[in-house]
């Protein structure tokens, strides 16, 4: 047994988090910053955090993840990190020449209380930021929120620093994609272009964290939203923000700063959430849903209809990030599966809980925030054994001990590829998710069926 010390009996814990179902803000901020074209994320703190965050993202994507750090030592921790950041900015522009440096804080610089606005101003005054180049920042204290919060904060800072209302509205909508994979971001863009909707999407990590092998390393790959695009987001006539936790702050800022109205939607994972996304695109942009998209929807529904017997009544336990979880819970419930447990370490709030209950019924156990960890999730799984577990790579320890198939979703996924290349959003993404669920269920049936009931056709 890998997790041999996890008892079935639930006991209240107040202080000890065991096997977290979240991680810290900066890694989300770093990921978001990589979705700006020619941007170098910079971690303001000791180098350990940066090293950890780069390693986590590298293991997840199997791609280069470039980011720098202020490399605090004890001196900087006492006197503040201004000197380190100023020197860092100078070195970064001299050696790496990015267009944008996106600074996020760490626990250390937050506790010290470094004023990033002031330090960046100073760098500007001292001529350390070359003409046409930008240094932006966001605060990401890890003693609040989670990696999703960090993503949301950095995305919001893109608006704060770049977006401008020039007074001439452009015929485009903004799409804030949420903390999703590069493959998802590409799929969202494809759907919009299929529908003939002109859009600005940021951040956009497609082409950055799923790049090709060309024999030449490119420090700044072709992907990412450009500064000009994010700037023009202030002139768009509408914002669609996907996922309340990851995208709300940026959407709100666009509204208050640039007077661009917004709508917050669920992440388009599954049939109904995608329907709502497509329908909103249609209404806000004033376009028709093209046959090609209707065709994709029909295909998805076709598979659901044809394979319904394999979904019906199957129990699923979910652990991960709130925006994904609520959509996933809805989709699985639509397939007539039963969602037994939903756990996230992100403090997603009672709205999240309500949303999940709306989607999958009142019987679903929902746990979020402090103390909602994978240890608790495991205990809940032990108490009501599901047929499937949805979660990140760490859930595989539970899956193996309990002998339950795992559908890898969320962050991080260290032990498989696919998430970089194949989306989970949209009708096509849902189709792929279905395929994975079916394979898991059917493989299990094939493995466990008595010989006389081993099926050729399924």
């Amino acid at each position: 047994m890998l997790l041999r010390h996890t008892p079935k009996k639930l006991e209240e814990r107040e202080a000890l988090t065991i096997n977290p179902a979240k991680t810290c803000q900066p890694v989300g901020a770093m990921y978001a910053a990589l979705g700006i074209h020619k941007c170098l994320p910079h971690s303001h703190g000791s180098q350990g955090c940066c090293s950890y965050h780069r390693s986590a993202l590298t293991r997840h994507y199997k791609e280069p993840v470039m980011a720098t750090t202020s490399s605090f030592t004890e001196g900087a921790s006492v006197f503040g990190g201004q000197a380190n950041l100023l020197e860092g900015i100078n070195n970064i522009f001299t050696v790496y020449d990015p267009d944008v440096v996106a600074v996020h804080t760490t626990c250390l610089s937050e506790v010290i209380g470094d004023d990033l606005n002031q330090i960046i101003r100073k760098a500007q005054e001292e001529g350390k930021i070359p003409k046409g180049k930008r240094v932006i920042h966001t605060n990401t204290p890890s003693f609040k929120g989670s990696h999703v919060t960090g993503f949301a904060n950095m995305t919001q800072s893109m608006v704060t620093y770049f977006s401008e209302n020039t007074g001439s509205r452009q015929k485009q909508i903004n799409l804030i994609p949420g903390f999703v994979e590069p493959s998802d971001m590409a799929e969202l863009k494809r759907i919009m272009s299929e529908m003939g909707v002109k859009s600005v999407m940021f951040p956009d990590t497609s082409g950055v964290l799923n790049g090709p092998m060309t024999g030449k390393f490119k420090m700044f790959p072709n992907g990412g939203a450009t500064v000009d695009q994010i700037k023009s987001a202030g002139d768009s006539f509408f914002t669609l923000a996907l996922g309340r936790t990851a995208s709300l702050p940026a959407a709100k800022s666009l509204d208050t700063k640039c007077k661009v109205p917004c709508e917050i939607l669920d992440l388009p994972i599954g049939l109904r959430a995608t329907d709502i996304f497509v329908d909103n695109l249609r209404k806000t942009a004033g376009v028709n849903v093209p046959d090609s998209i209707k065709f994709e929807r029909g295909q998805l529904l076709d598979v659901i209809t044809d394979m319904h017997q394999y979904f019906y009544g199957k129990k699923a336990a979910l652990v991960g990030d709130p925006d994904q979880l609520s959509s996933l819970a809805e989709f699985l419930t639509d397939l007539d599966m039963k969602v037994t447990v939903v756990v996230t370490g992100t403090p997603a709030g009672p709205k999240f809980e309500r949303r999940v209950h709306e989607a999958s019924g009142e019987k679903t156990t929902v746990k979020y925030g402090l103390g909602s960890d994978m240890f608790l999730f495991h205990q809940l799984v032990k108490n009501d054994k599901p047929d499937l577990i949805f979660g990140n790579t760490y859930a595989k320890y539970i899956a193996r001990d309990e002998d339950i198939p795992l559908i890898r979703t969320g962050f991080p996924i260290y032990d498989r590829i696919g998430h970089q290349y194949f989306p989970m959003v949209g009708y096509k993404g849902a189709l792929r998710l279905l395929e994975r669920v079916l394979s898991a269920v059917m493989d299990r049936q094939d493995r466990d069926a008595p010989e006389e009931r081993f099926e050729l056709v399924m």
Binding site: L2, H5, A15, L16, T73
Partner: protein
């Protein structure tokens, strides 16, 4: 065959020119510093090597490979121990990232024995605790951990904010130990900003393990020729392979610090007669302190490379001086080498003359050169991520190392002989004899004296420098870690991870050598990289037109 090597060396770029080119791009201040950290190797008479600057601050804004003291303490040294329950005191991230990512393997005697390694525990500090202090929560967390897991020992690991908000993990540990007298509870001040890299954390870990764990249990293991291995972390099963060989030879391995280890073995580690040190950087402090307090001699060994393994085993057997042990050791070496030689020669044919670069850790960049040499490959550039001058130049430079402010922050324990438990393992005369026969105690000769002239030794290599090296040398393989992996591979050069071994291994010992030969063979001779060019890249001109246009 040696000709090919000579030829390829002749074609190598001039190292001094490469260095100049690297420095040219830097701002003046950075260039000045890096000039002292990039050394064109030259070994003079009597193993005299150049001075290198090491263990100094990482330059802000320069993409470094380094991590922090917490990673060195919790991740490297203590992480591989299965039954010391480890609580990270701090916000959630640090504990999350050090959760199982280092691939330390462990094997309990049965399912009933404790293994906390798959559990990441943290106090997950929130804003209120950052403001008002986190000690109360830490105590509560220990209460909960004791109630749930009933561990023998608990280690508390401090992250950056903890030091700043003034939490005293040591007093919490003392208080909680009073509450739970059966549990050994100790804290580590391994805040990430301490020192300049993981290295500081190694030192902090060594100190605490020495003062609070080693010597707590008077329990000798049965058997003859008892020893500890220090600085072997069982990544990819290395320690399993070393255990297998050592066992076969007839030594008694008391404990490994800290791969595949248990608390009780640590606690009684002072009962052995010899400490052998694998990774000098991360654990030499403990070896030194155990010698001073308990009288256990130590020397450096290396189980990476078949030759090196054989040499180390012989040294260990010679130390105990038992005829039977020596004979059995020779027998084991001879029998193990049969398979090794077969594969080695086969692989050597395909790898001879190719170039390797190694940039990792505090010892592997040196150790792994052995394996490359064995298959005829040459290391043209190497360096450590977090080592000190002695790991490059040899321990003889220690008296000359200037202790700077960052190092002074790490406590240097003053250790004296234990009045009861200090025991001479060998008489002075015996030690003299052994030394005369070539055995070097308390010594490590470092990387540089074993590297060829005109190779580049680079401390704390960064991304930009790696790019230049790749362009200039076009090595057949580059060894580093996960953060470098895909950067290097995108430029068409295979990267071998020498932290995690790319989820394979073991590479230590005899079986490990065979695994590594095969792995390098796979990497340097793969055709994957030749597929980069598509047909249209080779003939971009348009030869035809659509059929229906004709």
């Amino acid at each position: 065959m040696d000709n090919t090597i000579e030829k390829s060396i002749a074609k190598l770029p001039d190292a001094a020119e490469v260095k100049e080119e690297i420095l040219a791009k830097y701002p003046a201040k950075v260039a000045r510093k890096r000039a002292k950290q990039i050394i064109v190797n030259k070994v003079n008479e009597g193993e005299q090597v150049q001075e290198i600057m090491a263990n100094t601050r990482t330059i802000p804004g320069i993409l470094s490979m380094r991590g922090c003291a917490y990673a060195g303490c919790k991740g490297v040294v203590l992480g591989p121990t299965r039954d010391i329950l480890q609580i990270t005191h701090g916000p959630i991230g640090c504990g999350f990232y050090s959760w199982l990512t280092r691939r330390n393997q462990t094997r309990t005697k049965s399912d009933k024995h404790p293994n906390y390694m798959p559990y990441a525990m943290s106090t997950d500090l929130q804003e209120d605790e950052i403001i008002f202090g986190g000690e109360k929560k830490l105590k509560k967390a220990i209460d909960e951990a004791v109630a749930l897991f009933h561990p023998k020992a608990i280690g508390i690991f401090s992250t950056c904010p903890v030091g700043l908000i003034g939490d005293d993990v040591h007093s919490v540990a003392r208080e909680m130990e009073e509450k739970y007298p059966d549990v050994n509870i100790f804290g580590f001040s391994c805040e990430g900003y301490k020192g300049v890299s993981q290295s500081a954390g190694h030192h902090v870990a060594n100190n605490k393990v020495f003062t609070d764990v080693v010597g707590q249990l008077e329990e000798e293991k049965e058997g003859k020729f008892k020893l500890n291995i220090l600085g072997e972390y069982n990544i990819g099963g290395d320690a399993f392979e070393i255990e297998r060989i050592i066992d076969k030879c007839g030594f008694t391995l008391h404990s490994t610090f800290s791969g595949n280890s248990e608390y009780d073995e640590f606690a009684s580690a002072h009962t052995v007669d010899l400490n052998v040190v694998m990774c000098h950087r991360s654990i030499n402090y403990l070896a030194e302190m155990m010698e001073k307090k308990y009288g256990i001699p130590w020397f450096k060994v290396n189980f990476v490379g078949a030759e090196a393994t054989a040499k180390s085993l012989r040294k260990m057997a010679a130390y105990f001086g038992d005829k039977e042990l020596i004979a059995q050791t020779e027998k084991v070496i001879a029998s193990e080498l049969v398979e090794v030689e077969k594969i080695r020669l086969e692989v050597k044919e395909r790898c001879e003359g190719k170039l390797a670069m190694l940039f990792v850790g505090g010892s592997r960049a040196h150790h792994y050169q052995e394996l490359f040499t064995e298959i005829g490959m040459q290391t043209v550039s190497a360096g450590y991520e977090f080592a000190h001058r002695d790991d490059y130049e040899g321990r003889k430079v220690i008296p000359n190392i200037v202790v700077d402010a960052d190092t002074r922050n790490i406590e240097e324990l003053s250790v004296e002989a234990d009045p009861q438990r200090y025991r001479e393992r060998k008489t002075e005369k015996e030690m003299k004899e052994l030394e005369k026969s070539g055995m070097r105690f308390n010594d490590y000769e470092g990387m540089m004296s074993e590297m060829k002239d005109n190779t580049l030794v680079i401390d704390d290599l960064n991304h930009y420098e790696a790019e230049v090296l790749i362009e200039k040398y076009k090595p057949a393989v580059f060894c580093a870690g996960i953060k470098e992996k895909y950067v290097i591979q995108k430029s068409g050069v295979p990267l071998k991870q020498l932290h995690s071994y790319d989820y394979s291994g073991p590479y230590a010992g005899f079986k490990g050598a065979v695994n590594f030969y095969r792995e390098i063979d796979r990497l340097v001779n793969t055709k994957v990289f030749s597929l980069v060019k598509a047909p249209w890249d080779n003939s971009p001109e348009l030869a035809g037109n659509y059929a229906w246009n004709n």
